[in-house]
């Protein structure tokens, strides 16, 4: 059992929790994720390890409530336990001193971006982080990111905080100014990562993206996580989750993410009718 030691809501529908998982904390490297199950009938879902404390034997998870499992987790409290946490999974980020690295995060993607940014910063890179969200209230972890960035730029779609516009416009601005950039790392919703690649491709800036295909085992056993990279089938959980952004078939990923739309809604509605979990934390609007 993996006890939840701390939990807080850090944005609308976004939670952060510190979980006891010493073996994962010990082995984890930036870019890696875990797979968890909340209860006996639960689904296995992947979440990035957003931070860790090896001495305390803990990992931090940050998640957005989008379906039955992430909503359920939203109703769990300190003292509750996840029945399964397995990891760390996936190939770690390739970290070295590249020179200048731009880390672009959108929405919940800022959470998985954090350990990578930290790794790049600690490796001596000049790190520019560009964070974005629809509106100010949805921005997460900006302070955490700031501590591991040389420069930080923030954009909101509605202009309620920072630059008015998309992260891609900010990135385009840097390129147009002639900023020397050696590597771009982009994590966020699929349309955002696709848009980033559309900006970096003409400038021939190497771009790493982190993909979030649907997964089951996370060890290369099932093939649920198939993505196409350079026209070749790859398994997101073992070959990734990070890939060369120029080579990824984002349209296929989008279609595959919609595979269980119907059943997911059924499960969520059932959850809404008979919510489980701790009453003190029922998500808003339920």
């Amino acid at each position: 059992m993996f006890e939840i030691l701390e939990k807080e809501r850090i944005g609308p529908g976004v939670n952060r929790a510190v979980i006891s998982a010493p073996a994962v904390a010990r082995a984890h490297k930036p870019g890696q994720f875990i797979i968890l199950r909340c209860h006996q009938d639960g689904e296995r879902i992947p979440l990035t390890v957003a931070d860790k404390d090896v001495d305390k034997g803990t990992i931090t998870l940050v998640w957005q409530e989008v379906g039955v499992t992430t909503y359920y987790m939203g109703t769990m409290c300190p003292g509750d336990s996840l029945i399964d946490v397995v990891g760390p999974l996936g190939t770690p980020t390739h970290i070295e001193n590249f020179g200048t690295v731009v880390c672009v995060g959108g929405g919940i993607g800022v959470a998985p971006l954090y350990p990578i940014t930290k790794g790049m910063y600690e490796a001596g890179n000049h790190v520019i982080s560009i964070l974005g969200a629809r509106t100010e209230g949805l921005l997460i972890m900006t302070e955490d990111l700031k501590k591991v960035s040389t420069e930080q730029l923030i954009a909101t779609d509605d202009g309620s905080f920072g630059i008015h516009g998309f992260v891609t416009q900010v990135l385009q601005g840097l390129i147009d100014k002639g900023t020397k950039i050696d590597l771009v790392v982009a994590i966020g919703p699929v349309p955002m990562m696709k848009a980033v690649v559309n900006v970096t491709r003409p400038a021939a800036l190497p771009t790493v993206v982190s993909l979030n295909p649907i997964m089951v085992d996370g060890t290369g056993m099932c093939g649920a996580c198939r993505v196409e990279v350079n026209g070749e089938t790859k398994f997101g959980c073992v070959d990734g989750p990070e890939f060369d952004g120029f080579a990824v078939d984002f349209d296929l990923l989008t279609k595959r993410l919609a595979m269980y739309k119907g059943p997911e809604l059924v499960a969520l509605n059932k959850f809404r009718e008979t919510p489980r979990g701790c009453e003190c934390t029922f998500p808003e609007g339920m």
Binding site: G87, D217, T219, G223, A258
Partner: protein, 478 residues
């Protein structure tokens, strides 16, 4: 005594009793539920069937069993009504008999060698069914006391993977006073026995009971532990000071056909389809949270046990039509005869001498059909089977909304690629001595599907047993 004489000597005593059928759920009923298909013998049937055994002086049946169960001896005890004794007799050689009795391909192993079969009657003694009967009976009626464990030797062994190979090794070593820790990547123990082979063939409660027995003997289990990620084999040896490590990680990486359309929605590997259904209990959705595509028209590519299991699972999930597409004919199907027979009874369609060329998709990215090539059998290939060759220009389409690729599994590279100095062959299988399981790396043994490629439960168990003996030899205990 020659075989001829032997037959003569016993013949007059034996009335002709036919091989006893095992009661089964009605095919129409069972095609809609996940309960076990074969219901097992009752006492009368078991006695009658056991009485058919001739207690041969030279029991060929034993030579057909990879773990050499003392078949005539245990059958003799059944005849004498000593079912507990019979169960213990089986367990001397076979540590997972309730499982083997259900899933062993007996028709090509012990029963193939039984003299009652050899004499051309094709009616061998139903060894597997009796093995199942006595060990099920013993599990329900108490098996007497646990074996006496020897004093701990102070040795400890790490086992990677909780499939039949790893479980068998764990059982053999714990009984010799070796501390055993089993590391398993998934959240449940049993390997293919829990995530692959469906409930209707092998109830999970049986696997759980076998695992619990090992736990009671003192085997430690660590689930959610991916060796190569959570900890490497080298760390287990150097940091955690295990005296030996056994790798039994199975052949878990699914192969795909490499044809257009294979990444469309609705296209599964058999591993994913079966894992969702079995391990994640997707057939209970939405009571269980994991969804699965409930196809109306399902196509399965392949002809092995895994293909049969996928097809029959799809049927039970509510498919109206399930078609197995196989390159050769019924005679070459690699699946167990009983599985094919059950599939046919349940109404699975067979599209034989056909191979998929492309999976056709719609705008939204869902599979809607399969474009197939007609085949014919040509010259025999290296394996002696006649090779299927395309008939030029003859193609056809099958409509479908779900397609399940069941053409085999390759070795998962996770452990070899993270272990220093572990030799693999060109297919990525770990190179290990067939008699001892010893690998190229000091203090590391391996066995089961990760060494042989996809094989059988009983061969994996045999490999686990051999490695256990080899380890004891190395440690100087035994």
């Amino acid at each position: 005594m020659s075989e001829q004489e032997e037959k003569k000597a016993v013949k007059p005593k034996k009335p002709k009793i036919p091989r006893q059928k095992m009661p089964e759920q009605d095919p129409i009923e069972r095609a809609h539920n996940f309960y076990e298909v074969a219901l097992g013998y009752d006492n009368d049937l078991a006695l009658l069937e056991a009485s058919r055994c001739l207690k041969c002086k030279k029991p060929y049946c034993i030579s057909g069993c990879p773990v050499e169960v003392d078949i005539p001896d245990f059958l003799e005890m059944v005849k004498a009504g000593d079912l507990i004794g019979a169960a213990w007799k089986v367990k001397e050689k076979n540590s997972l008999p309730r499982i083997a009795g259900r899933v062993c391909p007996q028709e090509s192993q012990c029963e193939a060698k039984c003299v009652l079969n050899k004499k051309g009657k094709g009616e061998p003694c139903a060894i597997g069914r009796l093995e199942r009967y006595v060990t099920d009976w013993a599990a329900v009626h108490g098996e007497g006391k646990m074996p006496q464990l020897p004093k701990p030797t102070g040795l400890k062994v790490g086992v990677v993977g909780s499939g039949p190979a790893g479980l068998t090794l764990a059982g053999a070593l714990i009984k010799k006073g070796v501390a055993v820790t089993v590391f398993e990547a998934l959240h449940e123990l049993g390997g293919v026995l829990v995530y692959g082979i469906p409930e209707f063939r092998l109830p999970k409660a049986i696997v759980r009971a076998e695992v619990d027995e090992l736990r009671q003997l003192g085997v430690e289990f660590k689930t959610n532990w991916v060796v190569g990620r959570t900890q490497t084999v080298d760390e287990l040896l150097e940091k955690e000071k295990y005296d030996g490590v056994f790798i039994g990680t199975g052949a878990g990486a699914p192969l795909f056909l490499k044809i257009p359309g294979e990444n469309l929605n609705g296209v599964y590997s058999a591993n994913e389809f079966l894992t969702r259904a079995n391990l994640m209990k997707a057939y209970l959705f939405p009571q269980a949270d994991t969804p699965i595509a409930k196809g109306r028209r399902v196509v399965v590519f392949g002809g092995g046990n895994v293909a049969m299991d996928s097809a029959r699972t799809a049927l039970r999930l509510g498919a109206e039509e399930v078609t197995i597409v196989y390159r050769r004919t019924m005679d070459e199907l690699p699946a167990r005869a009983e599985e094919v027979h059950h599939a046919v009874e349940e109404g699975i369609r067979f599209e034989l001498l056909a191979a998929p060329l492309e999976i056709i998709g719609n705008e939204a990215g869902w599979a809607v059909g399969v474009h197939c090539q007609k085949m014919q059998l040509g010259e025999p290939d290296a394996s002696g089977r006649r090779r299927p060759v395309p008939i030029p220009g003859e193609t056809f389409n099958i409509e479908c909304d779900t397609a399940i690729v069941s053409i085999g599994n390759a070795a998962n590279p996770l452990v070899p690629s993270t272990t220093i100095g572990l030799e693999t062959n060109k297919w990525g299988n770990i190179v290990a001595d067939p008699e001892s399981g010893k690998t190229s790396k000091d203090r590391v043994w391996a066995g089961g599907d990760i060494v042989t490629g996809a094989a059988t439960v009983i061969l994996a168990m045999g490999a686990g047993r051999k490695s256990a003996l080899a380890m004891m030899d190395t440690f100087g205990i035994g």
